[in-house]
Symmetry: C2
Subunit: 144 residues, 2 copies
Amino acid sequence: MNAERALRIGEVAERVGVTTRTIRYYEERGLLGHDASRSKGAHRVYTEADVVRLTELIRLRDLLGLSLEELVELAEAEESRAVLRGRWETASGDERLRIVEAAIPLVERQLELVRARQQTLAAFAGELAGKLDSLENRRAELRR
Amino acid sequence: MNAERALRIGEVAERVGVTTRTIRYYEERGLLGHDASRSKGAHRVYTEADVVRLTELIRLRDLLGLSLEELVELAEAEESRAVLRGRWETASGDERLRIVEAAIPLVERQLELVRARQQTLAAFAGELAGKLDSLENRRAELRR
DNA sequence: GTACTATTTGACGTTAACGTCAACTAGAAC
DNA sequence: GTTCTAGTTGACGTTAACGTCAAATAGTAC
């Protein structure tokens, strides 16, 4: 039904904004579930869902400064990788429910991390604003 | 007047939460103005202002993921390093005004960077929240 | 002065995260 | 089938940001 176009590594890399080396490296490190059915030497095949997923991971890396190891840890429990391996289309209702239920706490965890960083950033911004304020006051006084 | 206690590298490192090696490395790379009056082999001497400054730099590094090179570039223009070298105490009113006026755009720049990051984080948080929402809707449907 | 600890300098070591290169091949287009 | 581009594997190279170690010395306490 859903005849999704198959992507190859080059296109994925370009769209996500990384190099092909990075994608292979991430797979090597266990971040992207590697397809066991791929025979040695055959091209890797990706879907739109992979692009979305990789984009998200890259953002977590860039915005939160997570290391690869931390990313792996974060994504590890994600049973929703089954979706990426094409299991979703053929899954039964029960299986789909389990997949969705496994994905929820993962997104929650990510959201927590982002929110925490928002907090610390807000505090830092406050400090900087205060410092700017006092500098401006000093300037005014020194000008008199 | 202001007889500030002189700190040595070990105490500074502990208070800032880095190692002494890091501090020396930062000096080596030009991030901390190195005191020309220090004779070879003599201990490095720091002030409370140095602790504050280093703390801020480390936070910019950690929260925004800035590289050392970017930090150097950011701090480079900072004429306020004069303050750290003890020039403040002996400075005339005019000099002090110039020091303060040089520090302001620097803090403004830092604040800009932090605010920008807050924006992208907010957008990301929004996306994640949306995704969480749709997952929860799916779950509800699959449960019926 | 002596003892003792923290510091200095210089040098080499380490790790994560890729970059780069070579020889070979899959797969799409014709 | 031929052609051609993009992909694959394996291996070695690179860079930033420190870690670690050794030998000598500064500075503090007594």
